[in-house]
């Protein structure tokens, strides 16, 4: 069969799939068939392109056309215009939000300009369900090199030299972890891939597994070779059906090609991988809890030491790394430790994948070099704050992290700077907040999450976080007192100091960090009983400015409880006894006539 002249890449990430990207692919195939072009043009469902804000994404190569927000109905036009007649469909091309210029080529988009894609190198580029495409992109070459040309110690040396640190949150040096597990003496060892991504608003690992599952499998095998393990386990959230499916396909293909199993590449090295499922417990991202869960138990963390490197799964030495960490390994082997170490800052090498979300124009998955500033991420890549509002803070590290304010916009992002700024790298969630977000409510939101996800094993996390939450609740309901702010800080400190695992030890971070940076907001809540952002419903009242109200009836028609009354073309009124403070009138009013008091 002739080589294809043209490739149509349709994003098959979860976000785009939710917007019917699979149907888009089917429509393309049908139309191309009708035109007799099925042999010339290949249609592929790829992993995530990262530009989720404008999904579903369709990319056409070789002319590198980047279509956004494509619907299944748009396919006809793309085929007839672009494919047949060679004319790009302009209305589907990306328009720069600032200059309003059309950018047809993804290379020219600000969103991609500052990114360096290592862990995401194959996402949105290859068909994740086809091992040959992975092999074509140097896939399994790193494994081959390690097995045939390097000793385990040499490989570990390389990983250490590269400066790679764990991407799951802690930032422990990966090479050192491997070395520790290698040194443990045992008849059986395990490699575990932690794919229990649970941060609300983070989907880095899922995208890698969906877009490039083989890179994880290859690295796990390399790790197995280094530490002396012949068995690997991927612990993945059951809520990730697509990633699970792709992983299964990848494992089967790798076995079929002899890249997993016995005597890999004729070197006598055996390695195979099984999948274990999480069942909805955030705490299982903690490695000892993860191991308990894999053993069929409640996912409660254990006391460390002993570390999994000494006593892990089934009591055997176990090396646990997260998905993104693994995805970096083959590139380090192929391109060299020095190359990798040349990217990033002094103590944080390489790149980091972030899930950019919240009040930002370009929601999506990005991979940037360590040392990039928040400003570059938010304004250059992220396209600025949504609806032209004012930037307030960025929350990194999810429920374990903290908020970075304006003053940190030019701080280079790496592990140490984030910790110094009172937050942490975390697994890579990055939530942008604007001036309409109440920081007390944000702290409460994260704490509610922790409360829900606490395993309940240790006192400070089980009861302490509950009490912390109750104080915040009191404050957001307008019943807080000044001394509650001290109480928050004191309790937070003890919870951090005494909790058993990382979940509890970091759970007060969102509280402490907002207390540090937004103390005035807390003060306003407890002294004047005001929520400056207008988020805390109990502290907010809606009213209509009769001077501004034009009587357009828009608010009246949208009020879900019928609390608004008034004649057409005459000022409207809100009945406070009926108002549920949903804020719809405020959002809908085109004349800024609805006031928050």
């Amino acid at each position: 069969m002739a080589e294809y002249n043209m490739h149509i890449l349709v994003c098959g990430g979860t976000g785009c799939k939710a917007s019917q990207s699979e149907l888009i692919k089917t429509n393309f195939k049908t139309r191309l068939n009708e035109f007799g072009l099925a042999d010339e043009i290949q249609v592929i469902l790829t992993g995530c392109f990262g530009f989720c804000e404008k999904g579903p994404i369709v990319k056409i190569l070789p002319d590198n056309t980047f279509y956004t927000q494509v619907t299944p109905e748009d396919v006809d036009e793309i085929v007839e215009e672009h494919i047949i007649k060679g004319r790009k469909v302009e209305r589907l091309l990306y328009k720069d939000p600032e200059t309003h210029e059309i950018v047809g080529d993804s290379k020219g988009m600000d969103f991609y300009k500052k990114q360096i894609r290592i862990a995401l190198r194959n996402c949105g580029f290859i068909n994740p369900e086809n091992i040959e495409e992975y092999i074509g992109r140097d896939g399994y070459a790193a494994l081959g090199t390690c097995l045939s040309e390097k000793t385990p110690d040499e490989v570990i040396r390389m990983i250490k030299d590269s400066g790679l640190r764990g991407r799951g949150g802690g930032g422990f040096p990966t090479g050192l972890k491997w070395e520790l597990t290698r040194k443990s003496v045992s008849d059986q060892k395990y490699v575990v891939c932690n794919a229990d991504e649970g941060d609300p608003g983070a989907f880095m690992d899922r995208s890698i597994l969906e877009g490039d599952p083989h890179s994880v499998l290859e690295s796990m095998a390399i790790c197995g070779y280094c530490i002396g393990a012949d068995k690997g386990l991927v612990y993945i959230r059951a809520e990730y059906p697509l990633a699970i499916e792709r992983l299964k396909i990848a494992i089967n293909q790798a076995r079929e090609y002899g890249l997993l199993g016995n005597d890999i590449l004729g070197t006598g090295f055996n390695f195979d991988i099984e999948i274990r499922y999480g069942a909805g417990a955030f705490v299982c991202g903690e490695e000892t809890a993860l191991i308990h869960s894999m053993e069929g138990k409640r996912g409660e963390p254990g006391v460390k030491p002993p570390f999994p490197a000494e006593k892990g799964y089934n009591g055997k030495p176990t090396n646990v790394n997260n998905v993104e960490t693994f995805a970096n390994i083959p590139v380090i082997i192929n391109k060299g430790a020095e190359w990798f170490a040349s990217i990033g800052t002094a103590n944080s090498k390489g790149t980091k994948v972030f899930a950019l979300a919240g009040k930002i124009n370009n929601v999506g998955l990005i991979e940037v070099p360590m040392g990039i500033t928040l400003r570059e991420i938010i304004y250059d890549i992220g396209g600025g704050i949504k609806d032209g509002r004012e930037f307030k803070a960025v929350q990194t590290g999810g429920p374990s992290g903290g908020c970075l304010t304006k003053s940190f916009l030019d701080t280079p992002i790496d592990y140490d700077n984030l910790v110094a700024a009172g937050s942490m790298m975390g697994s890579g969630g990055m939530i942008v907040l604007d001036d309409s977000d109440c920081m007390v409510a944000i702290a409460k939101f994260y704490l509610e999450f922790t409360l829900d996800e606490s395993c309940g094993k240790c006192t400070p996390c089980r009861i302490g976080n509950k009490r912390l939450y109750e104080i915040l609740e009191k404050i957001t309901e307008g019943n807080g007192k000044l001394e509650d702010l001290d109480r928050l800080r004191m309790l937070s400190t003890v919870i951090k100091d005494t909790s058993l695992c990382g979940l509890g030890q970091t759970s007060p971070n969102p509280v402490l960090s907002t207390l540090d940076h937004f103390y005035d907001e807390y003060l306003a809540h407890v002294t004047t009983h005001k929520c400056l952002a207008g988020q805390c419903k109990a502290l907010v009242n809606y009213a209509i400015d009769t001077d501004r109200c034009t009587g357009c009836t828009l608010c009246f028609r949208n009020c879900p409880v019928g609390a608004i009354s008034g004649e057409r073309r005459a000022p409207h009124y809100i009945d406070k006894s009926l108002c549920i403070k949903c804020g719809v009138c405020f959002e809908k009013c085109k004349f800024d006539a609805v006031l928050i008091a």
Binding site: L9, G86, K107, F125, E133, G136
Partner: protein, 131 residues
């Protein structure tokens, strides 16, 4: 599929399958490669543009020249179909008319390999296609 039995086998397979995604690799770095656009409107197709395009793709591949061959719409030179536009990185695009297989071969041999212009250039005001 037979199992891959050695690193050499893996490398062999890699070079085999690489061609399948080469087009994407090239498309991802368009600025550094020779680009050829083939006008593929109705008149172009009627005049054999499709054959020309297939020939270009196969021949370039055969000779191992890295170039991106894409189709484009009507360039407005209906009298001279098939027409192609050749862009060498860093240079201005050049448009050729009446490109059949022979002409195409000549363009590859001279223009692409040695940067020598070939007869048949359309010296038009329509210097580029995208405008």
């Amino acid at each position: 599929m037979n199992k891959i039995k050695s690193l050499a086998d893996l490398k062999k397979l890699q070079s085999e399958v690489q061609s399948k995604i080469k087009l994407r690799e090239k498309g991802d770095n368009p600025d550094s490669l020779i680009q050829i656009k083939v006008s593929m409107a109705t008149c172009g197709i009627a005049s054999g543009a499709k054959e020309t395009m297939t020939y270009l793709i196969e021949e370039l591949d055969h000779q191992g020249i890295d170039a991106i061959v894409t189709q484009t719409g009507c360039m407005g030179y209906c009298y001279a179909e098939p027409t192609i536009e050749v862009t060498i990185p860093g240079q201005k695009p050049v448009v050729y008319g009446f490109v059949n297989k022979t002409k195409a071969q000549e363009i590859i041999e001279k223009h692409l390999k040695f940067n020598e212009m070939v007869d048949g250039i359309i010296p038009a005001a329509y210097a580029t296609i995208n405008n």
